[in-house]
Symmetry: C2
Subunit: 342 residues, 2 copies
């Protein structure tokens, strides 16, 4: 069943629980590391044929049920006027962090057809290569998560500068959210137009916020964006981590599938989220480093807790880590298919 991923997103019955993995193409694979000998991460993203090759690697190696475009959530920042690089061992570094009203004013609302055309070309190319055998997911970072990189200048432990802007300069913050939301909305629309059959919004760090902050500073911007994206007719996955106290609020904000990390058991998540959305998750990525019997136990638990009601996409709670053995990724894909076919 080529479309079991899309069917599960729509909460339709499937022959097996669909499986894909966040960061399923990446450094844990020898095939990917070989490409990285010749290109940096950003060079891969800038070359549609290379991005296509990397996107397909885990499809070939593990036969997962969905491909996800190889790209980085930060790609829109450079054309917006906030260049960055991946410093060795440090993660992304934004050269000139956005902190003042003038900084926010200077950010450009880009046209993705111009500024991110290489990403859109990659999507069209990947769709052609997949030949309709596996659906393709497009994605973007969510406004809070992107704003945190812009304001902090990189990854943060506590989002001190981000919250400082929120709390002390709410109008500047709102302007930044407006710009980011519009860019992401355009970018995801363009990805669907180019061929993406589902889209995922990565609000990876939003779980740090109190529900009150979320409702006050995030939701008013995010909700109309989801409303617009949901008119496109493709599944919209709304993902975050550490969202144990935020799930219902995220659901009310938008998305047809809610991503749940390992901290919230799926039976708890489904009970809280209700029947109107599908769920995606939620194995702890580090379980993939454990011995096989332990992996099996935890995979069985995820499936048991997800239950028999349609609308579960098996995934990790966050991305695959570089030291995870690729054979265990394949093993989990096989196991989920085997156990869910029973």
């Amino acid at each position: 069943m080529w479309d079991r991923f899309l069917r599960a997103c729509r909460r339709e019955p499937v022959d097996r629980t669909p499986v894909w993995f966040m960061r399923q193409a990446g450094r844990y694979m020898a095939e990917y590391r070989k490409i990285r000998e010749r290109y940096t991460l950003l060079e891969i993203c800038a070359r549609p044929e290379v991005a296509c090759e990397v996107t397909l690697q885990p499809i070939v190696a593990h036969q997962v049920d969905a491909a996800i475009l190889f790209a980085d959530i930060l790609l829109p920042l450079e054309p917006m006027g906030a260049p960055f690089e991946f410093a060795a061992g440090e993660g992304p570094v934004v050269h000139s962090p956005v902190r003042t009203p003038a900084d926010v004013e200077r950010l450009r609302i880009i046209d993705p057809q111009e500024s991110l055309s290489h990403v859109l070309q990659a999507i069209t190319l990947i769709r052609r290569e997949l030949e309709g055998k596996t659906p393709l997911i497009g994605f973007a970072g969510a406004p809070f998560t992107l704003a945190s990189y812009l304001i902090e200048g990189g990854k943060s432990n506590n989002y001190a500068k981000t919250k400082a802007m929120m709390y002390a300069e709410p109008l500047v913050w709102a302007k930044l959210m407006e710009k980011l939301t519009e860019v992401i909305r355009r970018y995801l629309r363009a990805q669907v137009a180019a061929g993406a059959q589902a889209i995922q919004v990565f609000d990876s760090w939003v779980g740090d916020l109190s529900p009150t902050d979320y409702v006050e500073f995030i939701q008013p911007h995010l909700r109309p964006m989801f409303e617009d994206l949901q008119t496109l007719g493709v599944p919209v996955i709304h993902f975050g981590t550490g969202t144990g106290a935020l799930l219902e609020t995220q659901r009310d904000t938008g998305g047809t599938v809610i991503g749940v990390d390992w901290r919230t058991p799926l039976d708890v998540a489904r009970a809280r989220l209700g029947d109107g959305v599908a769920v995606q998750g939620n194995l702890d990525p580090l379980v993939l480093t454990a011995p096989r019997p332990f992996i099996e136990k935890r995979v069985r638990e995820v499936l048991d807790r997800a239950g028999s009601k349609p609308g579960h996409i098996f995934n990790l709670g966050h991305g695959i880590l570089p030291h995870i053995p690729p054979e265990n990724v394949r093993y989990v894909r096989e196991l989920v298919h085997e156990l869910s076919a029973e």
Copy 2:
């Protein structure tokens, strides 16, 4: 009312909501930075009179309702055989991380009367200086949080090595938990014997675990420790962060007060925890960097959500950060007293 903190811990009526702040003595205070010109953090901890002076600084400056011993959760590690230092800008570094069965075997179960006598002396000294006007809280790190520092060699983003031991070497992990639990149990008993009138167990990083991992790898060790500590007749505060999906499990593990961070609203937390425990929390520490009207709005919200039922201790969701203005700490203490007296 000198004992409103202790009364709130016991869920008895109080004249005002008691307030104290995690890391209320620290770098945000000029008085503390002055001491730090002469002593390192560990030197302060090793000198009872200096630790006493620092412990009293926020009592004098802000008139909070409880003093907390100035110490570090890692202090037991050195006598156990795992020396560490605070590297500039990097946090703690454990020189020889604990990763093999032999490493765990080598760790000593210390007698705190011998190895940590300076801490116990500080407690007795602080009690004398406080003259019964303010109660004194003792504390220790919880086994998971301490184990994560021991195994990772410092602070971690994802606890990869810690989980690797849990998942692949459960017997080694259990041995490590047993040793840490016994050390912490002895240490907290000794603190109470020396004069601590309440104790807090800091399981700061346990919120990263799935409830299933928690129940399998943490709870069997932690529960008997809490049971033993709760026979001492002093309030036992069980604190963690990011525990939105773990609150009931933590409550079932032990403690007479459950610490809640800003990610879980206190009305939600109290509804989930029930009437058998008090709650402590839960302002986002970064709210203390905001303009006064915003601080007031969020403080009012914490008090409103805590409700009028006895058993709320006002605190932050985690420690005070170095860049927080001390006058805002004082302001929040005053505001909580003023609003809760109404």
